[in-house]
């Protein structure tokens, strides 16, 4: 073990993956550093080896794939999600969620989608929308490339990708024309994080809910995909006040182990899970109605 940390800046994704695989005690991947540096400054994290992925051109850019998906490179920063024409046109829910992240312009200019997702922080703002959009992720480990649903990555009990894998891209099916969407972030303080967040997608047919996706964040250690519960209550009906109340009740009931932290006490967070769910679906219904 060395007293001083070292850093490598590989030029290709294959080199970076090979390097990570070769480090017996593990390296720490660094992208924008917006999540890592506060812990390093505080001395609670002291990596021996940094693998700086900032030079990997393969992880940059937003493009349409031949299969018609939007492929978002892991190094895409929040600012690009907020302003890129392809995101604005085809994934407005994600673009909107990126505007709601805290830290200000300075953090939005450097924080990446890869770092945001790999950190698996329950209070972060990009995962709820991407889960609602049923995004997939592609990651590289050693010489192997794996493509899997984001839901599977988030559910993995190893908590994240481990120290050897590099998230390369996020793949998302473009949102259909007229699909209603909303991201609600309920903040109890002037700080960066929400106390309860909800991402919703709603398809309306003749004023009735035809399909719904709903994911709630910041209320429990893991994101809550409440899509099935929402669909059971809402599909085939107009979304009125009674439906909203029933939805709020049902979503709160799904939160069995609420977080209790600086963002608020557990019982309140559980109640707010229902509130943001109702607000997000109501806003998505309104947008769908206008389309």
């Amino acid at each position: 073990m060395s007293l001083y940390p070292s850093l490598a800046r590989p030029r290709t994704l294959a080199d970076a993956a090979a390097l990570l695989a070769s480090l017996s005690s593990g390296g720490v991947v660094i992208a924008g550093g917006q999540e890592l540096m506060p812990s390093i400054n505080a001395g609670v994290l002291a990596p021996e080896v940094y693998v700086d992925i900032g030079g990997l051109a393969e992880l940059r850019g937003i493009a349409e794939t031949p299969e018609g998906l939007l492929a978002i490179g892991a190094l895409t920063v929040h600012r690009e999600l907020q302003t890129h024409p392809l995101v604005t046109a085809k994934l407005p829910l994600l673009g909107h969620a990126a505007t709601r992240a805290g830290g200000g312009r300075q953090v939005h200019n450097r924080g990446t989608i890869g770092g945001n997702l790999v950190a698996q922080h329950p209070l972060y703002d990009l995962a709820p929308s991407l889960l609602a959009l049923e995004a997939e992720v592609e990651w590289v480990k050693g010489s192997e490339t794996v493509r899997q649903p984001l839901a599977a990555m988030l559910a993995d009990s190893r908590h994240g990708l481990g120290s050897e894998a590099i998230l390369a891209r996020v793949l998302v099916v473009p949102m259909a024309e007229g699909l209603g969407f909303a991201y609600e972030k309920l903040k109890a303080s002037g700080g960066a994080y929400g106390s309860a967040n909800a991402a919703a997608l709603v398809k309306l047919t003749n004023g009735r809910v035809a399909a719904v996706r709903l994911v709630v964040g910041a209320v429990a250690e893991r994101l809550l995909d409440a899509s099935a519960a929402a669909a059971a209550l809402l599909v085939g009906r107009p979304f009125d006040a009674a439906a909203g109340a029933a939805l709020a009740h049902a979503v709160s009931a799904l939160v069995t182990a609420p977080l209790s932290d600086a963002q608020g006490p557990g019982p309140w967070r559980q109640a707010m899970a229902g509130v943001v769910a109702r607000r997000a679906v109501a806003a998505a219904v309104q947008r769908a109605g206008r389309a």
Partner: protein, 164 residues
Amino acid sequence: MDDLAQSVLVQWRVNGVLHELDVLPGQSLMDVLRDALRLTGTHMGCMTGHCGACTVMIDGRIAKSCIAQAATLPRAEIRTIEGLMGPDGRLSPVQQAFWDEAGFQCGYCAPGMLFSAIELLSETPDPTDAEIDSALAGSLCRCTGYQSLRRAVRAAARALRETP
């Protein structure tokens, strides 16, 4: 550069002047600017990325230098608050507007407020109050209550629109 290095040579143009420096992995950009280059107008505040007092511009985009790792910037164009004034030593229009509107009291937050205003106004020449508030959200001020900061950004917007 695939090798593991305990010291990384970086090439930065800082406020127009080229520097070649050896930096240590883990070190923040803020430390290098303040300690090696003696640019102490970049203030050290929270070290968590919340307060914005260490804000600089990296390759044309504003960033918090306490949470930008120096060694991950092998080549960069960096502007600090010292680089805002004109060559004649006069305040830039945005600085002048903050001065005129008493935008600052203690001034500790100045790098964050000025750079946030500059980036906002480069994209949005005539911002609404909501746009100003959201642009300043990454910077904390404990003196002014933010009203004079808003006024200063509005005045800066007018000044920039009037200067060709």
